[in-house]
């Protein structure tokens, strides 16, 4: 007999019996299953088991990360919506707010790069526009194996497919892709990372949250018909990639950006119409997660008749319909009696809506099939009582040992006596080289608000009707995090903020994507917990709270784990369009000033890897006080109009930063610089000491700029002059001089990726597999 308030649930004919094996296949542990039995007071049906399995997967339940995420700072006066909603929202003044969020699609992209990446963009756009925000920009953060390693052909195939997938989707929807980052390292072979971030703009009063409230309100399914796509994708995204995942291939979801564009327009109209109380993307774990989460937020229950859900295929079971991850679908809670109004708006955009159920006051999650109850679960425990774990973390002793490496152990190669050789090598390293091959495939200028697109430190998108602009950047150096998870996590935040400041923005808030290996392994859990601690500390010091994010664990393959890669997406505000600053040198004779101090560090540098094949040493030291002082003083100087260009020193160090400012824009310019620090040549030119920025200023502003920096306690020194177009890049040091025509360095820098992608026969093959029209 069911207890009071519970409905009679009959096993559905044809459904498998719930056994220990079936429970295990659903990725649920014994402890978790015991908890389910306790919540249910009986053995769950197959459908109910599927529901629990999806909701309690890592992807939806955050069972291994929640306790860590709770330690992150999430509040500031400008934060309107912190973690827990589809996207975070911050106040940017003038009655406007910005919604933004990052999301990973690593596992789907490893299996089917084009569709995996495309649907990743689709999902993150929906997260933003379901908040009532019109998407204004997308960014992405990508990691692949080595382009010319042993597995090069496969890597090139994945890289080409992912880039085309991101481009085709965003281009079609008409949202500019304005920035991102790409790194190549053997650590990501077989397990690429694809993180997409979307930013949207809304009027503060139009903010809507995804809650199912109002007993009796109809629940409507909107958008594409449900098919068998990606069933158990959320569980899939929470397990290690094995040969078996190859067999799971038919689950791959296909994106339909055209329908997304219609959904986007229709959703924004719906939200403004006042006919609905809530709207949510049917994303990972589809209908189940969207409906249960909306009910939980609304403190209500739902009652769904599964046969009313529009389906694409015949014979779909409740289990399949509930768990399907068909893209471009939304769940809408309409106001009672407004269903026709909702249908009218959608019909204008050629979209259908079906009422599939109602909001109830029982607090229970009820699913029926032709009236017969197939699932009846108390909603609150389903959403909130997923067991969470604080695992044991222990550093891998090999990494402890790696960190003890110091530059004194390094024997320079004989070619390095000519530092120009080294610089050329670094500019040709795909992780440092220009990513133009990538972003030329992205529409960067649609919507006519992109003031600074890809190719500078941060992207800048103006806010029409105001003097303001938004700046955004995504950053993470997995190698630093691998060598020192705490420092690496903090550096990712600091670098992201520094990129924003270089563009003239005040950093405001963070969305993070934690890409890690299997958390059940103590050495991985150690990386995860330490990196989160580093992120938290940097976010607190730099006053950039975390407003949301995403966790992607189990990024491993039979060959090993990826570098722990906590991608930081950051948004900042530029108060006045006048303050927008880019990395490129502007005029002959401008003075070049280095802010921050050089050091003898080489640990974790691109130089060590590209020139010596070494991943060793400690991550660069980060002093958050120095960082904060640098950022504050630089932003002040930019606002005072003293700065012509600003570029932070990142991978490849000072020499690469100088070269990028000279050659990174349309026309290559010369540089005449001289460094007289008493440091080893390689560390001085190519070391990656933190908290450094290369700026240029008009000669007449030099004294003021240097004085201001001194007053702020920020090391600053004039190190050279900007040269003319087509000049030479020359950097003199005590031990040797870099000297080469700017045009030659530009050819290397811009040619490195095209050369690898379009040059070799296998590359052509790799490119083609994704280029052949498969829409």
């Amino acid at each position: 007999m069911p207890a009071a308030g519970q409905l009679l649930v009959q096993p559905r004919p044809g459904d498998p019996e719930v056994t220990a094996t079936l429970v295990e296949d659903h990725g649920l542990s014994e402890v978790e299953y015991a908890k389910i039995l306790e919540i249910m007071g009986r053995v769950p049906t197959f459908t109910e088991l599927g529901i629990f399995s999806a909701m309690w997967s890592e992807h939806c339940g955050y069972k291994n990360s929640k306790p860590l995420l709770r330690t992150l700072p999430t509040r500031a006066p400008w934060v309107l919506q912190g973690p827990g909603e589809n996207a975070g929202v911050i106040d940017v003044g003038d009655g406007l707010a910005v919604a933004f969020k990052i999301e990973s699609h690593n596992h789907p992209s490893a299996v089917e790069p084009y569709q995996g990446a495309a649907t990743g963009v689709g999902g993150i756009l929906r997260d933003v526009f379901t908040m009532g925000a019109r998407p204004i920009a997308v960014l992405n953060s990508l990691r692949f194996g080595e382009l010319d390693g042993a597995d090069g052909a496969r890597v090139r195939y994945l890289f080409a497919g992912v880039v085309k997938g991101i481009g085709d989707y965003g281009n079609c929807v008409g949202i500019p892709t304005v920035g991102g980052e790409v790194y190549f390292d053997a650590a990501y072979e077989g397990n690429p990372l694809v993180n997409a971030m979307a930013i949207g703009l809304l009027k503060k009063e139009e903010l809507i949250t995804a809650a199912a409230s109002g007993v009796g309100n109809p629940i409507m399914a909107v958008g594409s018909k449900t098919g068998r796509d990606g069933i158990h994708g959320a569980t899939f995204a929470s397990a290690e990639l094995t040969a078996e995942s190859e067999a799971k291939r038919p689950m791959v979801q296909v994106g339909d950006p055209f329908t997304e564009k219609l959904l986007l327009e229709a959703s924004l109209e719906l939200i403004r119409s006042g006919h609905i109380v809530g709207i949510q993307d049917m994303g990972a774990a589809g209908l189940v997660s969207s409906s249960t989460e909306m009910a939980a937020r609304g403190g209500t229950g739902v009652d769904i008749e599964i046969t009313l859900v529009p389906v694409r295929e015949r014979g779909m079971t409740p289990y399949e319909i509930l768990l399907s991850e068909t893209q471009e679908r939304m769940l809408v809670v309409a106001k009672e009696g407004r269903e026709e109004d909702v249908r009218d708006i959608l019909g204008r955009w050629d979209l259908d809506a079906e009422t599939i159920g109602y909001v109830t006051d029982t607090g229970r999650y009820v699913v029926r099939e032709n009236g017969a109850v197939v699932a009846d679960i108390p909603g609150e425990p389903l959403v909130d009582e997923c067991p969470t774990y604080t695992r044991e973390g222990r550093e891998n002793p090999e990494i402890t040992k790696l960190r003890e490496w110091t530059p004194s152990a390094l024997a320079p190669r004989h070619e390095e006596r000519d530092p120009t050789w080294t610089l050329r090598r670094l500019l040709d390293s795909p992780s440092i080289a220009s990513k133009r091959w990538v972003y030329e495939q992205y529409d960067t200028t649609v919507r006519t608000n992109t003031v600074v697109g890809p190719g500078s430190d941060a992207a800048v998108v103006r806010l029409r009707g105001t003097r303001k602009a938004i700046a955004a950047s995504v950053d993470a150096n997995g190698r630093y995090v691998y060598l020192n998870p705490f420092a690496g996590g903090a550096i990712a935040v600091a670098e992201s903020a520094r990129n924003l400041v270089c563009s003239g923005a005040r950093p405001l808030a963070v969305t993070d994507n934690l890409n890690f290996g299997n958390p059940l392994k103590p050495e991985v859990y150690h990386q995860l917990s330490e990196a989160v601690r580093g992120i938290g500390e940097a976010c607190r010091r730099l006053e950039t709270p975390v407003t949301g994010g995403n966790v992607s664990l189990y990024n491993e393959n039979p060959r090993g784990a990826i570098y722990p890669t906590p991608t930081i997406g950051m948004v900042g505000l530029i108060d006045d369009l006048e303050h927008i600053t880019t990395a490129a040198f502007k005029e002959d004779g401008d003075a070049i000033v280095l802010l921050g101090a050089n050091s003898a560090e080489l640990g974790g540098s691109e130089y060590l890897k590209a020139i010596h094949g070494l991943v060793a040493g400690d991550a660069p030291a980060l002093d958050l006080d120095a960082e904060s002082a640098l950022q504050g003083a630089l932003l002040e100087a930019i606002r005072a109009g003293l700065v012509q260009s600003a570029h932070d020193c990142a991978e490849g160090g000072l020499a690469v930063a100088l070269a990028e400012s000279a050659i990174g824009a349309d026309e290559a310019r010369g540089v005449e610089a001289s460094l007289d620090d008493e440091l080893p040549l390689n560390a001085l030119l190519f070391g990656e000491a933190q908290s450094r920025v290369v700026v240029s200023c008009r000669p007449g502003d030099l004294t003021t700029l240097l004085e201001r920096m001194r007053a702020a306690g920020v090391p600053a020194a004039e190190i050279g002059r900007v040269g003319e177009r087509g000049g030479r890049v020359s950097i003199a040091t005590r031990e040797g001089t870099v000297d080469a025509p700017a045009a030659e360095l530009a050819a290397i820098y811009f040619g490195a990726i095209p050369r690898r992608m379009d040059g070799t026969p296998e590359a052509v093959d790799a490119m083609l597999r994704s280029e052949i029209d498969r829409r």
């Binding site: 089917e112 068998r228 796509d229 038919p250 994106g255 339909d256 055209f258 093959d765 597999r769 052949i772």
Partner: protein
Amino acid sequence: MSDFQVEVRVVPREGILDPQGKAVAGALKSLGFAGVDHVHVGRLVTLSLSAASPEEAQHAAVAMCRQLLANPVTEDFDVRILEAAGS
């Protein structure tokens, strides 16, 4: 060795979303064509191939599909060897 005319048909996998087919179906309907259903859009690759026998040609064409012409995750293919055209 003979030259074979090869035709490769690549179609979206059964059950996989076919947005293109959906759009074409809608357009045909709005043009007034009635009774149209199950619209799918695929690719047709034609090529000539020199091989010793139809079997060998078939074998090579299937290998091409596996390696390049079709996406094993989302598409099914089908190879037809049409004729030996000359020596």
